[in-house]
Symmetry: C2
Subunit: 104 residues, 2 copies
Amino acid sequence: MDATLAALADPTRRKVIDLLRDGPRPAGELAEAVSMSAPALSRHLRVLRAGGLVRAEAGGDDARLRVYTLRPEPFTALQAWLDQVQAFWAEQLGSFKDHVERGR
Amino acid sequence: MDATLAALADPTRRKVIDLLRDGPRPAGELAEAVSMSAPALSRHLRVLRAGGLVRAEAGGDDARLRVYTLRPEPFTALQAWLDQVQAFWAEQLGSFKDHVERGR
DNA sequence: GCAACGATTAACCAACACGTTAACGACTTG
DNA sequence: CAAGTCGTTAACGTGTTGGTTAATCGTTGC
């Protein structure tokens, strides 16, 4: 949870996530898409990997390529936490409902 | 979106969110709950306020108190983004379904 | 009015995050 | 095998973050 949100805190990394939304891509394409030096992006990718947000596999045809793909687990975990937080307003709504039903 | 995730990146601030889940609290209580000096927490609260995650109102009885409450907007916005990201696997599932239905 | 209190801001410092260029290892291609 | 390519790590400078204590502002209560 900690690693997930730390990873998502950076705009560049979020942009990478958004890019990967329409399909896996090799590191090079990602670097160019965010107009950043390859080393800089490589470290962002390391953070994303450490947080389990992405996974890298060797490109089948050209083994030099490292193809990155989104991983679902951290996102579902985050969503679960968000649901818990939002339960707060559900309670508020419940109190209000009780309040109303109690006739005032 | 940026401010939201930046705010959530810090563990202390997430703990504050979790504390506020079961009701509004004054700054002092929060500071003690996270065992941190009042100034340190005050700055965390400023970040949370800037991101719109919380709102502060003067305590009705004692005007020295600043009572903090959760605000829903950033959380729903974040959830919307998460849904978009997760659409990725929905597509994958679709492809798999097509794959199966195509008889192989 | 004056001491105490709650909260924030100011000033300062250690630690970390992020970008750059340079160097390196692994693979491909002629 | 030699040169070029893809990606990562190393080393470095810089800006930001997060904590501390000291000072400030508004409110409370005797």
